[in-house]
């Protein structure tokens, strides 16, 4: 690991950004588009990296950056689940926020070049994967066939619908599979949980990298399904979530075994996950 020397700027102090747009993704997920008050992005991120967003005076929370658009903005797709996110969902365009980062290792975008990509997500778990999916489309020739399997509780809860149903299926050599947990009158698509749908589609492991994110229970079942389908431990990548405070591997709480999710993760291969205690 590189040893950063301190120029004695405090890594716990955020930069200030302005919310330039807010978009409703689902009834409880909003995308916040932020730009540094000095112009540009507060920092450059790679797909899968994290940013600590602070709404003063309420609190701070760690979120995956679901996209960086050049030097224009960072996008955070955030689900309303607690005190901080509840307040965040009430802010309006023009609100100033603190942001610090980037944190974490991010997805191995270089190592995946030349491979077919299988993205498997549940619920808000698509937010971190989306940064990698969009990266693949941006560098389309570097990656092979792209398959996206995404499920949610209901149609309303599916995030990024315009991309899911319109933009992504029109990308070259790309298939998007969506599913919802329970039948709905207006839904004529697949109904069922993601792991079962994955086994139904049964994408061949040959030449493929599978990237998984969702609720911990979904991740665990999907990992089992992938193993059953013949995916090797190095072919499967997941991104984990734990409570975080510092983001720099010091405050202690986001450890899984001797690894810190904020610093050594959040992205791990299944081979790495198998060496860690199953405590996530």
């Amino acid at each position: 690991m590189p040893e950063h020397k301190c120029d004695c700027e405090n890594p716990l102090v955020p930069g200030i950004v302005e919310v330039i747009d807010i978009k409703d993704e689902t009834p409880d997920v909003k995308s916040f588009f932020v730009r540094s008050v000095d112009g540009g992005v507060p920092f450059n991120v790679m797909p899968g990296q994290l940013g600590m967003v602070s709404l003063m005076p309420v609190g701070e929370g760690m979120y995956s950056v679901s996209w960086q658009e050049e030097q224009e903005y960072l996008q955070f797709a955030i689900k309303r689940v607690g005190l901080m996110t509840d307040e965040l969902h009430r802010i309006e365009v023009g609100q100033k926020l603190g942001v610090r980062g980037p944190y974490g290792n991010g997805f191995p975008v270089e190592e995946c070049k030349g491979r077919d990509m299988l993205f498997i997500a549940g619920g808000i778990g698509l937010a971190p994967l989306r940064s990698f999916i969009k990266y693949c489309f941006k560098h389309r020739r570097d990656y092979g066939r792209i398959q996206i399997i995404y499920g949610s509780r209901s149609y309303n809860d599916l995030c990024f619908k315009d991309e899911l149903f319109d933009k992504w299926p029109r990308e070259q050599d790309t298939e998007v599979y969506t599913t919802i947990d329970n039948p709905e009158a207006a839904w004529d698509g697949h109904v069922g949980f993601v792991p079962a749908y994955l086994e139904e589609i049964s994408p061949s492991p040959e030449g493929k990298i599978a990237v998984v994110c969702g609720p911990p229970i979904m991740i665990k079942f999907v990992l089992q399904s992938l193993e059953k389908m013949g995916y090797g431990d190095e072919q499967v990548i997941s991104t984990l979530e734990m409570r975080m405070k510092c983001g720099i591997g010091k405050c202690g709480r986001c450890n899984v075994g001797s690894e810190y999710i904020c610093l050594d993760g959040p992205v791990f291969t299944l081979a790495q996950l198998k060496k860690l205690p199953p405590e996530w």
Partner: protein, 340 residues
Amino acid sequence: MQILSKSKLNAALDLLSRQAELFVPLARGEESGYYPWKSYQAGSDQLMLDALNVMLPPKGVVFPQTERIYSFTGNDKGVEIKESFENHDPRIIFGIRACDTAALDCFDDVFLTMGYVDSLYAARRENTTIIAHACYRPGDNCFCAAMGIDPTEPTKADVIIRDTGDAYIWESKTDKGDKLTAALSSLLEDREAAAPEMQAFKHQVDYEGVAEKLKDMFEHSIWDELSQTCQTCGICTYVCPSCYCFDIQVKSWGDEGYRFRCYDSCMYPEYTQMAGGHNPRGDSRERFRNRFLHKLEFFKERYGKPLCTGCGRCIVACPAGIDITQIIKQIKEADTSAGA
């Protein structure tokens, strides 16, 4: 060699206290810990240089229980960071033992290495001078040697003092130590004296191979049994010289406020409680296991040394009588054949 006679100790402490904020081990009422010498009250406080371990460790000198990070003003119109705090005050810790300097060694690993330097810690640490007190008579709960520590040669010390009965041998180890030695020159004598003989540890602990054995014991049934009496009160983490986990919180009034950090404890469910309800260490057995694995296995994997320095404070403080040396022993003796 240089000698500080005990008759000149108070004069030396007064002098050091004029160089920097001086922390000394004191018994104060029901408590004992490292307090500023300038707050010493001759009637009610007692200097505890002979005691093996005052109850509260000296970690607060470099890592205060609460510490402001930055202040801000903020509302729906705008947000401004007003001040980013850093404390560069010079300070001296006097009389710290080898277990506690070894714990500072662990703190240095956490806060100064592995990707990021924690600037708040770095500023305090850089301006701290350590006058360590070599131990020759291990206490009832001491087991530092079992954790790889030589109690007679405290690491990270700028000066080491050794008790000869009526005086201390004064050994400067670093440039910082030399500066203090120069400041104290009028009180130091140049004569020979013998350091005491090292006495045997009363508490025999064998940590050899424990970190390695624990790698295969995450799912072992031993954790059910060991954690049964733990009340997850967190006192072990509070008195521990090497426990460093912290929380970041906010204090605000109107549009103003500041963000600060404060001690946290892995014993509390809130420590890993996520918004939305998921908690990877929601039950006390999981928290208990994580604490001991962190101490005895994970930290060693990451930094090459255990996160326990054998000071014995948690053994005394635990209301349920949980004894880390007994845990080490039971791990050593545990059956790890399949199905255990």
